[in-house]
């Protein structure tokens, strides 16, 4: 009789703990949801401890930092968010590489020889196009000239037929 009572008590205690554990959100579950929430923002990672999410990583804009925080805040069972994301603006775009006149002159001569009626002058990286051409031929020439990386292709003096 005594033994039976004890067994019942143990089972009751065990059951109580199981319910108690289930009721408390697990960090691992929050972690998964939080990681999914910040998935769209590359470079951001989330860590969870007792319901507190810590965000870390590097993004290029303040907006991304804020949106990562907001995304995680809306995750179920998150108590608070520590936003340790650093904002590093992307490096300035590479300066435009303009070909030197000498190499431009040689390359332009090769291109233009197949376009009778068109003359292209090279000066300080600027290609000045004069003469006249049909629209589709001029397009072909313009594509070829742009590929030489000039500073500018000035075709104001060109008559397009």
């Amino acid at each position: 009789m005594k033994l039976r009572h004890l067994t019942t008590s143990i089972m009751a205690i065990g059951l109580f703990f199981m319910i108690a554990c289930k009721g408390k959100p697990k960090d691992s579950e929050i972690m998964q949801a939080a990681s999914t929430a910040v998935q769209s923002i590359p470079g951001v990672t989330a860590d969870v401890k007792e319901g507190v999410v810590t965000l870390s990583g590097t993004v290029s804009t303040e907006d991304e930092k804020t949106s990562a925080e907001n995304a995680v805040k809306s995750v179920k069972d998150v108590k608070s968010v520590v936003n340790n994301i650093t904002v590093t603006p992307p490096p300035a775009p590479a300066p435009v590489a303009v070909s030197a006149d000498d190499s431009l002159k040689t390359a332009v001569a090769d291109v233009v020889k197949d376009f009778p009626g068109i003359k292209v002058d090279v000066k300080d990286g600027v290609l000045t196009v004069t003469g006249e051409a049909k629209a589709d031929r001029w397009k072909t020439l313009k594509m070829a000239l742009d590929a030489l990386h000039p500073k500018k292709v000035d075709a104001k003096g060109l008559k397009v037929k």
Partner: protein, 139 residues
């Protein structure tokens, strides 16, 4: 920034079409656009849009150089001369002797690229040498 607004449609399309290594920079009132398109069609589309924004490309405020990713060694390229044969030369330069010719619309093999302008090609007939890349289009 005004230039980027003017050509917004072009830049947006470039991004949406999967142009890689896209570089957009402004220098002295000219917008320089560089990148590699995933196909020749995308390159054509970008040039069409450019032509719509700036009819006949006369304003001169854009320099656009779009490579095509499929134009790699071993790929087939088509001869797109206006109507004539394409000269195949011994070396990269119009001063080099002609070693063969490829017919208009002929499909040839791209062996390697000497530079943006001169590509080493081989015809099915066996002629091998350098031709001007402007007349070769990836197929």
């Amino acid at each position: 920034m005004a230039l980027q607004d003017k050509y917004k449609n072009l830049l947006d399309t470039a991004k949406a079409s999967g142009v890689s290594d896209l570089q957009v920079a402004e220098l002295d009132g000219v917008l320089h656009i560089n990148g590699t398109a995933p196909s020749g069609d995308v390159k054509d589309k970008l040039w069409d849009i450019y032509g719509q924004i700036d009819p006949n490309f006369l304003t001169g405020d854009v320099v656009m150089d779009i490579d095509v990713a499929t134009a790699v060694a071993g790929a087939k390229v088509k001869v797109i001369t206006e109507s004539t044969n394409l000269n195949i030369r011994k070396g990269p330069g119009t001063d080099q002797p002609i070693v063969g010719k490829a017919a208009h619309n002929e499909i040839v093999t791209l062996i390697s690229k000497m530079n943006e302008q001169w590509w080493l090609i081989r015809t099915d007939g066996g002629a091998e040498g350098y031709s001007y890349a402007q007349y070769l289009q990836p197929v």
